[in-house]
């Protein structure tokens, strides 16, 4: 890392077992029990899924939304390492951690959702290149590994030369040490391949997640069904990347008292409104071109959900962040970024759940308690591991005076 940058990631040496963490534990236990029930009584024992509604909260939120919100990983990497804006370095590591955990939990969520979890390896052997899902699965699988590789330097930085595994694992100290040293040497030369691959793979599957529903033109509501849905998914993923970093960074810095990253966040939000504005133009253009705007005021649940998605999740934050003065206010910035994140969450929920209206049976779907518990359990576990990793690894940027021994 260039030495002249005022950027100093360090482990957060703070007590781990706070009340907030205990709340997470409660959700983790409840989710764990539900997962046990799912693997003993079947998906039907805990979920409200049916023939006409085979995908629910787990696919809509844990998978589709999880992937979208992990976009901060590749968007910050592209900015800092490909475009060379090293000014943004302080948010790259937290965003990378979020992406790595996000994708790990996408896969965990999938393992709960797919009927034959033990068969998850099969797409590697049996290829259907016509299937959008096949491409998404391959990209997610490779990208998850790319993310682990991208994260490795952080582990190396902390532990190389001082690997001391506890107890009976101590015998592995030497091999681990050797691995870290080897990885350090190799990655130093090859990291650019992984960084570019990460961006390419992300662009591929972020967009293809939108193509997924295009196989069901009679089921997806016309407000969302459009041949350009993949483009809308990619653009919204790009647009939500930086706001997600803003939300996360603000939450972390206020709850862990680490550096407040306003110097980085304000310019990030300027890029974000550019992307969000482009997304809005595409979305409105699409409504007008396809003539699907005629549904806008028919008062149905789907239509209202669309209006909230675009009104509250795109137009409002765009208006809030328009003035450079407001972008300097941390509170304004946080609220606007949270709205953008909420808008993209609602968009994915709309496409995969609310806008999914099977015309033959007209089946309705409301998530079961079991589905909610699994989803909240996964999110709580993700947050818990994030908290553990920033406690022990150099991820969050901190001023030296602030560190307690």
């Amino acid at each position: 890392m260039s030495h002249h940058e005022p950027y100093n990631p360090l482990p957060v040496r703070r007590p781990l077992w706070t009340p907030g963490v205990l709340v997470m534990l409660v959700f983790m236990v409840a989710g764990g029990i539900t997962v046990l029930m799912r693997f003993s009584g079947g998906i039907g024992a805990v979920a409200n899924l049916s023939t006409a509604r085979p995908w629910g909260l787990w696919v809509g939120v844990d998978v589709a939304t999880g992937v979208a919100l992990a976009a901060g990983g590749f968007t910050t990497a592209a900015l800092a390492h490909i475009l060379g804006r090293h000014h943004y370095e302080p948010v790259v590591r937290p965003a990378l951690l979020t992406a790595m955990l996000g994708y790990t939990f996408v896969v965990l969520g999938l393992l709960v959702d797919i009927g034959r979890s033990w068969a998850i390896w099969k797409p590697m052997v049996y290829w259907n290149t016509n299937s959008v899902l096949f491409e998404v699965a391959m990209c997610v699988m490779i990208y998850l590994n790319v993310l682990y590789v991208e994260f490795l330097p952080i582990v190396i930085e902390q532990f190389e030369g001082r690997v001391a595994l506890p107890g009976f694992l101590a015998g592995l100290n030497l091999p681990v040490e050797f691995f870290l040293r080897f990885a350090d040497k190799v990655l130093n030369k090859t990291m650019w391949v992984f960084i570019i691959s990460g961006v390419v793979l992300s662009c591929m599957h972020q967009s293809s997640l939108g193509s997924l529903m295009l196989i069901a033109p009679t089921k997806l509501h016309p407000l969302w069904f459009t041949p350009v849905l993949p483009l809308l998914f990619l653009t919204s993923a790009l647009a939500v990347g930086y706001p997600m970093v803003v939300v996360e960074s603000t939450l972390v810095s206020s709850s862990l008292n680490t550096d407040n990253e306003m110097a980085v966040l304000a310019p990030l939000s300027r890029i974000a409104i550019g992307l969000l504005g482009f997304y809005l133009v595409l979305k409105i253009g699409d409504l007008l071109l396809r003539g699907s705007w005629i549904y806008l005021f028919d008062g149905t649940f789907q239509t209202n959900s669309f209006l909230v998605e675009v009104g509250l999740g795109v137009i409002t934050p765009l208006w809030m962040l328009w003035s450079p003065r407001r972008r300097q206010s941390q509170r304004y910035l946080f609220i606007a970024a949270a709205l953008i994140v909420g808008g993209v969450v609602l968009n994915r929920v709309n496409v995969f759940i609310i806008g999914f209206t099977p015309p033959v049976t007209q089946d309705h779907y409301t998530p079961a308690l079991g589905e909610l518990l699994v989803t909240f359990g996964l999110i709580a576990t993700l947050m818990f591991i994030y908290r553990v990793l920033v406690t022990y690894l150099p991820i969050l940027s901190q001023s030296r005076g602030d560190i307690k021994p």
């Binding site: 039907g44 995908w55 390492h81 290149t129 016509n130 491409e135 650019w192 662009c203 069901a216």
Partner: protein, 310 residues
């Protein structure tokens, strides 16, 4: 994270060659519908709602014993759908149709997998566990299935059901077109064989289409002028003739385009030979190389590229 001059040029060469040569080889979407496949023609006006087809289906496919006897016609009082324990059901519709004697009569509609000619489920299936056979059957191979249920999302007829209460080895459940009967004993599907009124005719799809058109032509006014399944979603193996408009019998209006056309066209034009990822990789490599060169120029003392450890 060094991107050396030499590796960049190698990369650029590979990317440029892939990007220039491949897009022109991408072909327009073509239907993969089998040409000489079998099908069934259901003449709704002949069906008397005896549920014998349901019974035969249950026996042949070794499905669980039904809670209520197949002779019990009060089952028809409510609309049912095929599920993980029944591959076909018959529903009764009272549309106000009056027969030759001036009496109100009901119509009975058999529902099962339509065995589409270009099936959305086959296109969507991540592993190819769903496949279209040349005999017309849309075949499910549980040994390849991972249980993603994308086939169920894709199916325009909302047919594939799932064993939601099996925790480890659930299967997608749907009509098999009695492929084993057809293959091993050269027999039509069990429902077609047992039907006492010949409401179901089994045969080559092309022959059935001609037969349906002949019935429409020979009996003017008897049927609505529509063979449901001839063109719906590009055509289905199961075809229906009816006296009352299909919309009144639980059939939905479907596009005539095969559903896989849009997604497969998108996927193949974007990702054939991975030309677009290769191009994007090269472009980003170029940008990265430039931005690092610029930075090195600003810091002549710093030989190591920035971002060595992310």
């Amino acid at each position: 994270m060094q991107l050396k001059r030499r590796s960049f040029f190698k990369l650029a060469a590979v990317g440029a060659v892939t990007a220039v040569t491949t897009p022109c080889t991408v072909k327009a979407w073509e239907s993969k519908a089998p040409q000489d496949s079998y099908g069934c023609l259901v003449d709704i006006s002949r069906c008397i709602g005896c549920r014998k087809c349901e019974q035969a289906c249950n026996a042949v496919n070794e499905l669980p014993t039904a809670a209520r006897s197949f002779d019990d016609l009060t089952v028809l009082d409510e609309k049912r759908r095929p599920d993980a324990t029944k591959f076909t059901v018959v529903n009764r519709y009272n549309t106000g149709r009056i027969d030759d004697k001036g009496l109100l009569v009901a119509d009975f509609v058999k529902v099962q997998c339509m065995h589409c000619q270009d099936p959305a489920c086959v296109s969507a299936c991540i592993t190819g566990a769903m496949s279209k056979h040349s005999n017309g059957a849309v075949h499910y191979d549980a040994s390849k299935c991972i249980g993603c249920r994308c086939c169920m999302v894709a199916c325009p007829f909302e047919i594939p059901a799932y064993e939601y209460h099996n925790p480890i080895t659930p299967k997608v459940m749907k009509c098999t077109f009695c492929e084993t009967l057809q293959r091993e004993q050269n027999k039509p599907p069990a429902c077609a064989t047992i039907c006492p009124t010949e409401a179901i005719t089994f045969g080559k799809r092309n022959t059935l289409l001609n037969l349906a058109k002949k019935r429409l032509h020979d009996n003017p006014g008897r049927y609505v002028k529509h063979i449901y399944g001839e063109k719906e979603v590009g055509g289905t193996s199961w075809l229906y003739l009816s006296k009352v408009p299909f919309a009144k019998l639980g059939f939905i209006k479907l596009p005539f385009n095969p559903l896989p056309r849009l997604t497969e066209t998108l996927q193949h034009s974007l990702f054939s030979y991975l030309w677009s990822p290769a191009l994007l990789f090269t472009l980003l490599g170029g940008v990265m190389y430039r931005s690092h060169k610029k930075q090195s120029a600003h810091q002549p003392d710093n030989t190591q590229q920035p971002g060595g450890a992310l």
